[in-house]
């Protein structure tokens, strides 16, 4: 019997495949993590404050306190993800040392590098990164990301940007699939994306890694909308713990993602939930405060 290989791209991307059809929930404490696990979350995302609070407070948002991350790891048996700042490879090293199962190099935190992202090939722990379009997704995969999420606009409870981003990615994939092979190089240049990944999409008609939707999911119907538009699963940030009944919202969103093609079940699980998180009109947010624009 040969030796075990750890930290390979197959096991990194493989964990994301195991998360498909599931809901990954933002949590700031071990108590939140327990509520999320009990509701059926397929993983939790540890961060210092939920995006709505980061948006409200302003200032610099960083990686969570390692004590909190350790407490969350000790509390739940589902995978624990945590966010590091864009380009902050030492925060990523710390998160790997703490034993998190996935790192989100996230625009929700204040970027540490305005030109470069983390070289994710250097790590044994897998990374998920945000994108607004296919070029951004493929640049992140080129850097070693083993999972992608469309960004949406975190902390708004407004699904409009999430719809824009998933539609953009899916449209670009369909375009590449239908394109003659001799146009792929120019398209790679236009997208700013690695040519080899375009060749792969041309062949398979899909992204080489799992793609979840994020940024603005506030209701079970929002979550099912993302699934019907082609997402493999859903991240819910402020939508759970900024709602009037986090446990009920969490359970309903989990069921809506599993049964995303069954309107009768989505209707049933949407009943009597109480108030969803307050929403923000995107146009009311000053241009420089839009989180989705962070990432290069």
């Amino acid at each position: 019997m040969t030796n075990k290989d750890t930290g390979t791209f197959t096991v990194k991307a493989g964990l994301a495949q195991m998360l498909k059809g599931g809901v990954i929930m933002d949590v700031v404490t071990a108590e939140h993590a327990k509520i999320a696990e009990d509701a059926g979350a397929c993983a939790v995302m540890a961060l210092e404050r939920v995006p709505a609070d980061i948006r409200a407070a302003g200032g610099v948002a960083r990686m969570s306190d390692p004590n909190v991350i350790t407490a969350i790891i000790e509390t739940v048996t589902i995978p624990v993800m945590a966010k590091c700042r864009i380009g902050h490879f030492v925060e990523a090293q710390v998160l790997q040392a703490l034993g998190v199962d996935y790192i989100d190099e996230s625009e929700v935190l204040t970027p540490a590098d305005e030109a470069h992202h983390v070289n994710k090939h250097d790590f044994k722990v897998p990374f998920v990164c945000g994108c607004r379009d296919l070029g951004e997704a493929l640049r992140r995969i080129g850097e070693g990301a083993a999972m992608i999420r469309t960004k949406g606009e975190a902390g708004t409870g407004n699904i409009v940007e999430a719809v824009r981003h998933i539609r953009t990615v899916m449209d670009e994939i369909r375009k590449i699939k239908g394109m003659p092979a001799d146009e792929l190089m120019s398209e790679a240049k236009l997208l700013g994306a690695p040519y080899e990944l375009l060749v792969e999409i041309h062949k398979t008609g899909k992204l080489p890694v799992v793609n979840f939707a994020a940024g603005g999911v506030a209701t079970p119907a929002d979550a099912a909308l993302m699934m019907q538009l082609g997402a493999d699963g859903v991240f819910v940030g402020s939508g759970i713990f900024k709602s009037s009944n986090p446990s009920a919202f969490a359970k309903s969103i989990v069921k809506a993602v599993t049964h995303y093609n069954d309107p009768a079940i989505i209707a049933e699980v949407s009943k009597g939930l109480g108030a969803a998180m307050p929403g923000l009109e995107i146009k009311s947010i000053p241009e420089e405060e839009l989180l989705a624009k962070r990432g290069w």
Binding site: T2, D5, T10, M18, L19, E37, A41, I78, P79
Partner: protein, 192 residues
């Protein structure tokens, strides 16, 4: 035509369906109890076992799967699917189907950074080594007297077993191009 149901509550069900299609069988996604009707075999995929357990219980799938298994329906569980089949999980009676006489330990090899790939010798499917992918994988801590061990690691950890019509694998045949374990399962289905 043989029709295989794949439990599609959460996890890597699409990957199993893609492999089954290469073997020329009909497939169907199972999310509700009535979708179990008319299938010749069931695959419970890898995914998050806590999530799958909760969704199974919410829509009363566990009891029906258990009843069909006792009537002889062949079922293959991979990783989380193995946990769904086990009578005991982490030392306690499991809430899902509990139909196979095995005790499993979840996340038995550590966290994600400890996930691994390894070549295994599985005599039941032939002489060629089988490249297995273990992701936050469980292991079988105890197997009952009627359970056949399909493969052990070099340290004697049991990672695949069969009991009559039930197959439990700690790893992910749905993540490789090697379809021999799916063929092995279909042989059991077709012999029934």
């Amino acid at each position: 035509m043989t029709k295989i149901g794949v439990l599609a509550l959460q996890g890597a069900f699409a990957e199993h369906i893609a492999i089954l299609k290469t073997l020329g069988v009909d497939t169907t996604e199972v999310r509700l109890p009535e979708e179990l009707d008319g299938i010749d075999g069931l695959i419970i995929p890898g995914g998050e076992s806590t999530t799958i357990t909760k969704l199974m219980l919410s829509y009363e799938l566990a009891d029906k799967i258990k009843k069909q298994a006792l009537d002889g329906l062949p079922i293959m569980g991979t990783c989380a699917g193995m946990i769904m089949l086990a009578q005991k999980v982490d030392g306690t009676n499991h809430l899902s189907t509990g139909i196979m006489d095995i005790a499993v330990k979840r996340n038995a090899f550590g966290r994600q950074v400890d996930s691994f790939e390894l070549d295994l010798d599985i005599p039941a499917i032939g002489d060629e080594p089988y490249h297995a992918i273990f992701i936050r994988a469980p292991k079988i801590e105890h197997a009952g007297p009627n359970v056949d061990i399909l493969v052990k690691l070099s340290d004697d950890t049991i990672v695949a077993a069969k009991e009559g019509n039930l197959i439990a694998l700690a790893f992910h045949p749905e993540l490789t191009a090697d379809n021999r374990l799916h063929k092995y399962f279909l042989d059991i289905v077709n012999k029934r």
